[in-house]
């Protein structure tokens, strides 16, 4: 062998340039791997299952949610009530559907409670029984149901006995976009929905970072990386690579879901409750807060995962990590319900819940400057966490010889127990 003949000397890489080298390698390696296809298809499985379950549920609801009012009345009364229902139905949506259970002959009587529980009478879809007479109707059934139908049956009886209104003036409608109450409620719904979506995406995607350094440790390349560039750059590069992969995934999923939704004639964003900062800025903030949440949680996961030496250890760590994410989410949700209180400010200040809380805030409040301040704070926290993680990794993992390997498991447990080894 002989030494290469240099034609170009190299220059020092900045931390960001070094991070880019790592990010580019990881990004390309993941995107070109076969498993990335499964990554993209992954969310389709729950969607398909959810869709099927929803379809079946909807079918069940469709049949179950059309309760009927059975009539056990004299034949004349039944005919009069059916005529009244036919006349009133176009004007009153709340009228129950009437079905004939039994036409009573003159002098005949029947037990309405027994008729109600006779499932063979009408497929078991009877919610109550109307008995007595058109002039003196009696409702038999569960309390809530008969109270609901009391007014409607009264109107039907009035019409059936000739006491109801004959003319129905046309009421003109003057719709407004929303009322103050609707707007507040709608924004809260948007905030909650956005927060939940943000949580789901980060929970699904940030966990991948846990195992991100296992490959480098397993194939021993970590020492080559650590000798060539600062460990901060390795951490940063890996985080940004996984973030980029996640954003690619989200873009594909969003485009697919959006496309299917539009083709199916679904609602557009304009038809949903508009967030306080407006949809374009809200979507932009959503992407930025997703990125910040991903980087914040990811930097911690990367550090914890880097202490693990095997995939099995990473899997063991997944459960407490998921629980931690849930706690953060609950905290942010609780803070959203307590706008303007110290709880909300604490959730904004606490780095891990800050992106969730601020996205909810963007839906409810229109000011922009708090977002700039929060993003500055979150960027600072990412920098501190990445640097801290890299420092811990160098101090605790990059040791040589059997002592280093033996000490590694002890150090992982020390970290989990919250104390320093040795």
């Amino acid at each position: 062998m002989s030494a290469p003949n240099p034609t170009q000397r190299t220059g020092r890489l900045s931390t960001l340039a070094a991070a880019f080298v790592i990010a580019r390698r990881d990004f390309v390696a993941i995107l070109w791997s076969r498993s990335f296809i499964f990554f993209l298809l992954g969310p389709l499985f729950p969607l398909i299952v959810g869709g099927l379950a929803g379809g079946v549920g909807s079918e069940i609801r469709h049949s179950a949610e059309r309760p009927q009012l059975g009539m056990v009345l004299a034949g004349d009364d039944i005919d009069a009530l059916l005529t009244a229902q036919k006349a009133l139905a176009p004007h009153l949506d709340s009228l129950p559907e009437l079905v004939v259970v039994r036409r009573l002959k003159p002098g005949e009587s029947a037990d309405p409670a027994a008729a109600l529980h006779d499932t063979g009478t009408n497929g078991g879809n009877l919610a109550a029984i109307l008995s007595g007479s058109a002039a003196h109707p009696v409702l038999t059934g569960p309390k809530g149901r008969i109270i609901d139908w009391q007014g409607s049956v009264s109107i039907l009886s009035a019409r059936a006995t000739g006491h109801g209104p004959d003319a129905f003036p046309q009421v003109a409608l003057a719709p407004t976009a929303t009322s103050t109450a609707d707007q507040a409620t709608g924004r809260l719904v948007t905030a909650q929905g956005a927060q939940t979506l943000l949580f789901l995406l980060i929970m699904l995607l940030a966990g991948m970072v846990l195992s991100n350094l296992v490959e480098e440790k397993g194939n021993k390349i970590i020492e080559v990386l650590a000798a060539a560039i600062p460990m901060d750059a390795v951490f940063l590069g890996k985080l940004f690579a996984m973030l980029a992969v996640s954003l690619v995934g989200i873009s594909v999923w969003a485009a697919t879901i959006g496309g299917v939704h539009l083709i199916g004639g679904g609602q557009t964003l304009q038809s949903l409750p508009t967030p306080a900062v407006g949809w374009p800025l809200f979507v932009a903030l959503g992407i930025v807060y997703f990125s910040m949440g991903y980087l914040l949680l990811g930097s911690v996961f990367l550090t914890v995962g880097s202490m693990a030496s095997t995939v099995r250890e990473v899997q063991t760590l997944s459960m407490p990590v998921t629980m931690m994410q849930l706690l953060v989410f609950f905290f942010a949700t609780y803070a959203m319900a307590h706008q303007g209180t110290p709880t909300e400010y604490a959730a904004i200040a606490f780095p891990f819940s800050s992106p969730f809380t601020m996205l909810a805030r963007a839906a409810i409040h229109g000011e922009i400057w708090p977002h700039l301040a929060a993003l500055g704070w979150q960027v600072l926290c990412v920098a501190v966490f990445v640097r801290g993680g890299a420092h811990i990794f160098r101090r605790r993992v990059m040791q040589s010889g059997p002592q280093g390997a033996r000490g590694q498991k002890r150090r992982l447990w020390s970290i989990l127990r919250g104390r320093q080894a040795g």
Binding site: P4, T10, G11, R25, I221, Q403, R410
Partner: protein, 322 residues
């Protein structure tokens, strides 16, 4: 350690200390590696060689002490001028060979395209051209090692650090590596390698640092290390007794011969060879043969680091010298 102009030294280290979990792995190491030299760090497993190299390269920080690599106290600032082949070799298995070389170059600041171009050229030059488009996972361990070695050099570093480079190589590839190290040094590149095989260090190094128990009892030219021990005298005499015996050190080893003569083995006295010769001749010792041999690096190592450390190295030597 007095500090000269930093341009004369590829590496200067003073009082490096590193502790892991309360155990002192490196305990006050001083080193000065001249630019353009082949420098060996010699010691048994667990002596602190790898930890010292890792501190010099900035992989870990020392708990105490100073390091200056190519004039900078922050080794990563000079990473673009350094090549490093760790003891535990590793590449991304899914990468093709030329991509792996390009990636290693990119880590050192070489544009990726240029690194890949050089990677193909280097592989062709070293008879590995047919493997350039093969994934690392499809290669033998030896082939992957050679790819990593080329990746270590692709950015034309001024300083190359090898940690146990001969470990795991067959005799032919050990020879090739020795040739390459000499060529690098001839081109002005400083080469440092750690080894626990004394023969490699003795054959190749201009200077060595002997490290044992985290300390460096000797650092300097190989000749100076050898001079630490007195030349060994082997004397064959026709007689065993006589006045001349006073000239022979009391601790000399004596092997009696059946014909009444004897072999004597002892270190040359500080007074030199002439008084000894005079006493033997005048005392009529009947000199049959006399030789004076300069000690080897192994003898120097034993004298400097101790018999126990030398034995520890000898026990690991055959496995790695294969």
């Amino acid at each position: 350690m007095a500090r000269n102009d930093s341009r004369d030294w590829a590496i200067e280290a003073q009082g490096l200390v590193k502790r892991f979990d309360g155990v002192t792995a490196v305990d006050g190491v001083d080193l000065r590696v001249p630019q353009g030299a082949i420098y060996g760090i010699l010691g048994p497993n667990g002596a602190g060689k790898t930890t010292t190299l890792r501190m010099l390269l900035g992989i870990i920080d020392p708990d105490a002490g100073m390091r200056r690599v190519l004039g900078s106290e922050r080794p990563h600032d000079m990473a673009h001028a350094i090549g490093y082949l760790p003891e535990e070799r590793g590449l991304y298995p899914s990468m093709k060979a030329f991509e792996a070389i390009g990636f290693l170059g990119a880590l050192r600041g070489l544009p990726q395209a240029e690194g890949r171009r050089r990677g193909r050229i280097l592989m062709e030059k070293h008879g590995l051209g047919h493997l350039a488009d093969r994934q690392i996972r499809q290669m033998s361990k030896g082939q992957a090692q050679q790819v990593q070695l080329l990746g270590t050099l692709v950015h034309a570093p001024q300083l190359v650090v090898f940690d146990e480079p001969f470990s795991g190589l067959d005799a032919i590839n050990q020879g090739r590596l020795e040739t390459m190290i000499r060529e690098l040094a001839a081109g002005g590149t400083t080469v440092i390698f750690s080894t626990h095989v004394i023969a490699h260090a003795e054959r190749m190094c201009d200077e060595v640092a002997i490290i044992a128990g985290g300390r460096v009892p000797f650092a300097g030219p190989v000749d100076v290390a050898r001079d630490r021990i007195a030349p060994q005298v082997r004397l064959e005499t026709a007689r065993v007794e006589g006045a001349w015996r006073a000239a022979i050190p009391a601790e000399a080893r004596c092997d009696l011969r059946s014909d009444g003569g004897a072999f004597w083995y002892f270190s040359l006295p500080d007074s030199g060879i002439e008084p000894l010769l005079r006493a033997l001749i005048e005392g009529e010792a009947g000199i049959l043969s006399l030789s004076i041999e300069r000690g080897g690096l192994h003898d120097a190592f034993v004298a400097i680091a101790g018999e126990a450390v030398a034995q520890a190295m000898n026990t690991t030597q055959p496995e790695d010298a294969q």
